[in-house]
Point group: C2
Chain length 486, copies 2
């Protein structure tokens, strides 16, 4: 800890190395756990992800969703009830087959949950009886486990990740469709407005739906290397699960009907990857104030003679601020102020407060913004107000920057040549006409070296003008977006 | 939901049935999940346990412990590193042996963590380098899984439970011993002072230690049927794990030394069993205000004519209270006020506020305490102050009642006959002399039909007078407590 090495690579030059260094040097995660694809999350990321959970759960609860805890294991027989679901998830399941010292075989294999539809809906069939029980809006915060073939990277993809899954039941299709829109609103209110992560919601094409869904709507954010990362998705399940699981209700006229369902899965640990990537810079992390483990770090600048006096002032300042902000003080003797500035910049604390002998004399403090480096001198008795204003400015700046960077990376292509060129040279999202066939999607992916059709933009007006599929040149009205993905 | 059936058995007459009914009728847990020993936790218990976690984590963090998230799976090779530990936990392990559609065998079996020493200490060996890295105080909130042979009951014992495990590392034995005392202090500050659960801390006898520990200190609370339930325990691990896991540090003089360790495991879902059991009464749950999902339920009393006016007043009251309390309003048309009173009493909401036409006229409300049934009429503009005071009284009353009931169930016995009689007729904790031999402990257990030696009471002064082991009559100074246990 005595030596200090910051990030040694520029984010714009080598994003991948930059990401690896930030994850390690800001002590977010440790990849040395000795099971492939499983990582350890360290305090600095866990505190932040707990704040992310808090905001997300507050929003869910405000909209009438209630928390439950379901078992982490799912009997194979439950798991096999919905055909598309089992086909989609089977390759990803870890199986518990035995227990105890002698390795006694279990009567039935248990899936370590990769997602909880087939755990929860078994009970939903018992809980839902009449129209009075609807809607049923429940969620759980938990981990899920997926035996992934793809390479793993902390936060972005690993065999264990942290999410919320919200599972909702309605009397009819309209109720379920309204829930899908509410899920998008939740995503907007939290991921965009609090985490400062910009995204677009796409309706995924048929071949890329959640296994078992009627429709899948997924948000994509754009990483600095021009590839998109899929973030929360919400699924209209229709009656695909209510039929095999026999989730039925009696309506007001006494008729028995199958329910309509949705599910929504914001993966907090994956969103954190976007937070790191979108906001960080060449000095390290830049944490949005709403989810920063510390919002303010006070660094007293002292020598041996004036230490006591200055630290005392710093402590008084902390007392003043701590009711409203997450604040700490770094009064360690063994490091210089400069060392500390670098350290807390690497950690991404949004606001630094410097207080030295001159400041004490003038009853002032110096605020330094992490995002812009701007300095501001304020009177000590105005500290709380000034800190609040500065944090708000930082938040707004991060939101704006993320929005801008997403916007400017949306382009159009009417030919394969153009599409290839954009994806190769600039990345981002490219708007194209697509005929809707999986064949063309496959060719596009192959020829662009990984460009995937993300789907139609939710809420985007249908174009009046027809165009031609960028690959087969068939006439079509369908406009979709293509991007390389994580 | 239209019909209403309260608890149909008296707590004092049949505690076991009472417990089962409360768990089901207050919608705390559902035991119909189709894997043996795994239960579903429903919103009313989850919201409360989340509050329990919040209080416990705030206390841990205030004392310098930081959160981490470790993987839920532990490679068998890690698991086998500490001999006593593996012997103790091996019978309880669920094993993941295969993955994917074809059931591909994993290279190494993975234990679904029954506890995380052997997951975490592998990384601790990498994180601890010098005396500067100590103490290292980390905890995680998580589930653990244990393949239990014993019968399972929701919250009390199941194959999956929710806890915090705190794992701490020190340079020397003194540091570790101080941590053990701090863990007891945390238990006191949270479990006693917030959850209103009374307990005693015992140093467990050698034959009943945590597998791998030097000493185990465990808290016992007393259930209404006279049996004790083990709640948080803290373990001095000494260097039993640091040696096989090679957790070493360089001291100030440059010598390499093995660290000293402790771990502490408050099981939130199990403490919740004590909360239900200690405070509940013949009408159902009684929730301590600090962890009640709702602290106040407002029941407007109206007829068709005055409904609008009275509900409006009730809403205004909710607005007034909601900044400081967890409050809701039950304005459902389909139920009578009497039905609602019973419903919210069953759910254990600490305080009911009634507001009817006469109250509106007089600008007053009626507060009704769940614990005593006492009514109090207060002016509407004094509502917040009165609610605060009432909740405080309820809290104090619950704490006192629990303390008293523990205290009066501690008795002494100097003969096997007396010990047997007390345990048979009254239960509770019985103070005896014990020679320290496992043989006598086994005989005592057999002859008292399950009386287990809980150990020496932590902090209790040694008696000056020697006595004779209640079983073998050998002379001894050791005073221990015996109780039947869950």
């Amino acid at each position: 800890m005595a030596e200090q090495e910051g990030i040694t690579v520029k984010k714009s030059e080598n994003f991948s190395d930059w990401y690896t260094q930030v994850v390690e040097k800001a002590e977010l995660s440790d990849i040395r756990y000795n099971v492939k694809g499983f990582v350890v999350f360290r305090p600095w990321s866990v505190i932040s992800m707990e704040l992310m959970y808090d905001l997300l759960e507050a929003e869910l609860q405000a909209k009438g969703h209630k928390p439950v805890w379901f078992p982490a294991v799912i009997p194979e027989s439950n798991f096999r009830k919905e055909a598309a679901h089992v086909e989609g998830f089977m390759p990803n399941v870890f199986w518990i087959t035995e227990a105890g010292s002698e390795g006694k075989k279990l009567e039935e294999r248990l899936a370590l949950r990769p997602t909880s539809e087939t755990a929860m809906y078994k009970l939903y069939a018992l809980w839902v009886r009449s129209w009075r029980d609807l809607p049923l809006k429940l969620y759980q915060r938990c981990q899920v486990w997926r035996y992934e073939g793809k390479g793993t990277r902390p936060f972005i993809r690993s065999r264990e990740f942290y999410w919320i899954e919200s599972h909702n039941v309605f009397a009819n299709r309209e109720g379920a469709e309204a829930q899908v829109r509410e899920d998008m609103e939740i995503t907007e209110n939290v991921m965009h407005k609090k985490y400062a992560v910009s995204f677009l919601f796409f309706q995924r094409p048929e071949h890329d739906k959640f296994p078992g869904a009627v429709h899948t709507y997924a948000s994509d954010a754009l990483m600095p290397d021009g590839r998109v990362i899929q973030l929360p998705s919400t699924h209209l399940l229709g009656q695909n699960f209510s039929k095999p699981f026999e989730i039925k209700y009696t309506d007001k006229d006494g008729n028995e009907r199958y329910v309509w369902q949705t599910c929504y899965g914001p993966a907090v640990s994956r969103i954190f990857a976007a937070v790191i990537s979108l906001h960080g810079d060449d000095k390290g992390l830049v944490m949005p104030p709403a989810i920063a483990p510390l919002q303010v770090i006070i660094v007293p600048v002292f020598d041996e003679l004036n230490k006591e006096k200055i630290v005392k002032e710093a402590e008084a300042l902390k007392e003043q601020l701590k009711r409203k902000f997450r604040v700490d003080i770094d009064a360690r003797d063994e490091y210089t102020p400069g060392w500390k500035y670098n350290y807390w910049e690497l950690k991404g604390v949004p606001l630094r407060v410097e207080i030295g002998p001159e400041d004490v004399e003038k009853n002032q403090i110096v605020l330094v913004r992490r995002d812009t480096g701007e300095k501001e001198i304020v009177k000590q008795n105005k500290a709380a107000v000034a800190v609040k204003a500065a944090l708000r400015k930082i938040h707004r700046n991060l939101v704006k920057k993320a929005e801008k960077s997403l916007k400017k990376n949306i382009r159009k292509a009417s030919s394969m040549a153009k599409l290839k060129k954009i994806l190769r040279e600039q990345g981002g999202l490219v708007k194209i006409y697509w005929c809707g066939s999986t064949e063309c999607a496959d060719y596009i992916k192959a020829e662009t070296d990984g460009g995937v059709i993300r789907g139609t933009l939710f809420g985007e007006k249908k174009v009046s003008k027809k165009g031609r599929c960028v690959y087969c040149k068939k006439e079509t009205e369908q406009v979709v977006y293509v991007a390389k993905q994580y």
